[in-house]
């Protein structure tokens, strides 16, 4: 058995014992310290670091850094909140929301949505007033028997694609195109039911928002 050494780090003035080499985001979460995050996957050695929500201040770093990419080290001193962190997280969240179709009441993820959680934890508004809406006009893919895919609610965290490739080992979905056109899709951007998807449902469970939701029985 691999013996992992432990280190002591400080988060927001409190000391915690952590597994050496673990990424800070997971140490914090395990210890009940909330840091906003969408794209993080603990098992993945190379974090995507794409959602840009898990910013923290670490002593010795000039600028806020993403907690999902920083390995804990002995004596690390972390602050999860600061003026700069709040501004960055606020803007990143606002940007994501400008591209996310609201209407929580009619969303299958209502109540368990990570976006709602981040808004609540950080006192952020779900509806942005200073940015314009960049929500695409795309119909919901209702083709599978068990679930639906609403691209207009997708935050491009890539968690569904990761479980599809690494856990379910199907390879039915991927992140295709690039820039503003980047989206989760099947080969040829067909309806889910017309792809090699087996409807195992693992991607739906991995979705932190309401993009992939189970159909109600």
């Amino acid at each position: 058995m691999k013996i992992s050494r432990t280190v002591t780090i400080t988060i927001d003035g409190k000391e915690y014992i952590a597994k050496e080499g673990q990424k800070l985001l997971w140490t914090a979460l395990e210890n009940g310290v909330y840091i906003p995050h969408l794209c993080g996957i603990e098992e993945e050695e190379k974090p995507a670091a794409g959602c840009r929500l898990c910013f923290v201040e670490i002593d010795g770093f000039l600028n806020p850094v993403t907690a999902c990419t920083q390995k804990v080290k002995e004596g690390m001193v972390v602050r999860t909140r600061s003026k700069r962190v709040d501004k960055l997280v606020g803007t990143a969240f606002e940007l994501l929301m400008s591209n996310h179709r609201l209407g929580c009441a009619r969303c299958g993820a209502n109540g368990r949505c990570e976006l709602q959680k981040i808004a609540k934890e950080r006192g952020l508004k779900l509806k942005t007033s200073r940015l314009r809406s960049l929500v695409p006009e795309v119909p919901v893919d209702e083709s599978p028997d068990k679930f639906t895919y609403d691209q207009t609610r997708c935050v491009l965290c890539g968690r569904c694609v990761w479980v599809d490739h690494h856990k379910a080992k199907i390879g039915a979905i991927g992140l295709v195109r690039r820039g503003m056109s980047r989206k989760m899709a099947t080969f040829g951007e067909t309806a889910m039911a017309d792809s090699s998807c087996t409807q195992c449902g693992m991607c739906v469970e991995a979705c932190p928002v309401g993009a992939l939701t189970f159909k109600e029985k």
């Binding site: 670091a49 993403t66 501004k87 803007t91 940015l131 491009l156 820039g179 503003m180």
Partner: protein, 634 residues
């Protein structure tokens, strides 16, 4: 650990190349610059003309294709050598001049001075390049041989001490090579200016049996072409640099990652690699030593973001070019997880010179913190466009007015855009800035890849900022929130402003978003994307305000904020050129025979203005735009 075998093998190669070069000087030869820029200007036709004329006159002369001399404004360019005459360069050569050069100069004995630009070497009859202001301020290191050697003949390079530096390092300890590069303070020419030696040292110290070196030739800046010119004009310089880097860090496999949009560069690289392999300069045993090294060409598929190291690696590995978080840096864990050096074409091209002439020589050029020269692609509203190489520390004023010979059509200078989509715009007040990596960054621009675009009074700074942001926005990989959505939000705001729909509070939001994107983005593409906007907001805020508050574009560039008018006093009445030029029948003849523009129909294609300009100059643009029947004043 001196290796006499290496020395002997190199000397044999060089002696052969030198005697071939000397043999070449015994009879006339003609060099035609057939790099992409020359071809665009018609160089292939000129090459054909020379071939036909030489055959027709039965002249015993060699006809060679060479690369780019950097004087793009004078393409097509040829160089003609005839024993007993100065070696002369001719610009803007057409078929007539080409046949005259054969009949009058090579058959006759008249060097046609009336068509000559300059001589290559000092002589008693004709001035050299060094006699012009540009020649005074230029100092060529990596561009020195470009356009003067045949890029498809390795002997041309070897005859000019090519591969001497490689032979020299094979006698050195790899650590000593790294030390020499460190000593030289050579900084990476790909953008940010990271010290090359430091990068090499990290890689050298990484304890891994397999390492890689990669040349980043994925030039994607929309206004820069020096990497292409170097690849097309002197590929061996780069290959030698890459081989030296490989020896220094302990790599046996190298890659050249080159844009697929550069087919000629790829072709010439393939030829160069084959020849280097044939001569034993790369391969199983480099120059007979036990250093094994080979190079593979990898064609990039067109993604600006692949200039970013981690994205480039991802692309070679068969994935979309999406950047990853650094650290780990590629020098520690790069291609296939192995320590990897990635250097730009220019950086590697300096390496043989540094090794050959020593670190102290290199440090003696340029500024203390940015030694050496800077290569710029001079473009835009400057008279002498082209590739220039000047010592670091040269002022912008010298670059624009002496090297570039001033602004076209005697218009007023407005700004220079340096560094492309990652760089910024500097105003007239910055003209005396002595440029190097640090001074530019401090001023709010960036060396970037070396694009230098000169802007005049007719260039709208808001539109320039919008153009660059549109570029980065299109090229964003889309992974990270700030770059994907942040630049899109900024672009929407800028587009509104250029269309006259901007709101007064937009500027504050623009600035605020720019700051957050700079800090929050994952990779350098996103982190530098706001620079063009920030620098124009800082130096040209008045132009933004004119668009927003007055609905005008002071530079008359933003189509939505201008309209066309035909000035009755200038219109000839009898000429119909403007009418013929209009694609949508918007220009018409009024009952009094004057021409006018129907603003409802006008698509603002500028055809009538361009057509009329040399004739009567009667068409003008006005801002804010007029509405309704415009020119119909009666």
């Amino acid at each position: 650990m001196s290796n006499p075998a290496v020395e002997k093998m190199y000397r044999e190669l060089r002696d052969k190349a030198v005697s071939k070069a000397e043999g070449m000087n015994e009879k006339p030869y003609v060099m035609v610059g057939t790099a992409t820029c020359g071809r665009a200007a018609g160089a292939m036709k000129i090459l054909e003309t020379f071939r036909d004329e030489l055959a027709g006159h039965q002249v015993d002369a060699e006809l060679l294709e060479v690369g780019c001399l950097g004087h793009c404004y004078a393409e097509p360019m040829v160089a003609v050598y005839k024993p007993g005459h100065p070696f002369l360069c001719y610009g803007n050569v057409d078929e007539g001049i080409a046949s005259r050069l054969v009949s009058d100069f090579l058959v006759g004995d008249d060097p046609c001075f009336e068509f000559a630009m300059a001589a290559f070497e000092p002589n008693d009859v004709f001035p050299t390049f060094a006699d012009y202001p540009r020649g005074v301020y230029e100092q060529k290191i990596i561009l020195a041989d470009c356009g003067l050697i045949n890029p498809e003949d390795i002997d041309h390079y070897i005859a000019r001490d090519g591969y001497l530096a490689l032979a020299k390092v094979l006698d050195m300890d790899p650590g000593a090579v790294v030390e020499e590069i460190k000593e030289s303070r050579l900084r990476g020419r790909g953008g940010a200016g990271f010290p090359a030696g430091k990068k090499w040292e990290i890689c050298l110290k990484a304890e891994e049996p397999v390492k890689y070196v990669i040349c980043n030739a994925d030039e994607g800046d929309p206004g820069a072409f020096m990497d292409r010119a170097l690849l097309e004009s002197n590929p061996h310089q780069l290959i030698e640099g890459l081989a030296i880097a490989a020896y220094a860090v302990g790599a046996s496999q190298g890659y050249i990652y080159v844009r697929a949009e550069y087919p000629l560069a790829i072709k010439r690289l393939h030829t160069a690699l084959d020849q280097a392999r044939d001569k034993g300069l790369i391969g199983e045993s480099v120059l007979g030593s036990d250093f094994k090294f080979d190079i593979q060409i990898f064609q990039g598929s067109g993604a600006f973001v692949c200039g970013e190291e981690t994205a480039l690696i991802s692309s070679i590995e068969g994935n979309p070019g999406i950047p990853g978080h650094r650290p780990p840096f590629p020098a520690v864990s790069g291609l296939r997880g192995k320590p990897t050096i990635i250097n730009n074409v220019k950086t590697l091209s300096y390496v043989p010179h540094v090794i050959r002439n020593g670190a102290a020589w290199f440090r003696g050029i340029g500024t203390p913190n940015s030694p050496g020269t800077a290569v710029f692609a001079l473009a835009g509203k400057v008279v002498n466009t082209g590739l220039v190489e000047v010592p670091m520390g040269t002022s912008l004023r010298t670059l624009v007015y002496d090297v570039g010979n001033g602004i076209k059509e005697e218009k007023a200078f407005k700004a220079v855009q340096i560094g492309g989509p990652s760089g910024g715009c500097l105003p007239e007040s910055a003209l005396d800035l002595e440029i190097d990596f640090d001074s530019l960054q401090h001023a709010g621009a960036m060396m970037g890849s070396g694009g230098l675009v000169v802007l005049d009074e007719e260039d709208c700074m808001v539109e320039i900022a919008r153009f660059f942001l549109e570029f980065t926005q299109k090229e964003s990989c889309g992974k990270c929130t700030f770059c994907r959505l942040g630049t899109k939000q900024m672009l929407e705001i800028l587009t509104d402003i250029t269309k006259g729909r901007g709101k007064p509070e937009a500027l504050e939001l623009l600035w605020d978003l720019a700051e957050d994107i700079k800090t929050g983005s994952l990779c350098a593409l996103g982190k530098t994307a706001p620079n063009p906007v920030l620098s124009t907001l800082r130096f040209f805020r008045g132009e933004y305000e004119a668009h927003i508050n007055e609905g005008c574009c002071p530079s008359l560039m933003c189509n939505e904020l201008i309209s066309y008018r035909i000035v009755p006093e200038k219109c000839s009445k009898l000429c119909d050129a403007c009418i013929a030029s209009c694609p949508v029948e918007a220009v018409y003849t009024r009952p009094d025979m004057l021409k006018a523009v129907d603003l409802e129909k006008c698509v603002k294609c500028n055809n009538c203005l361009v057509t009329c300009k040399p004739l009567y100059d009667a068409v003008m643009k006005v801002t804010p735009p007029e509405t309704g029947e415009g020119g119909d004043e009666n």
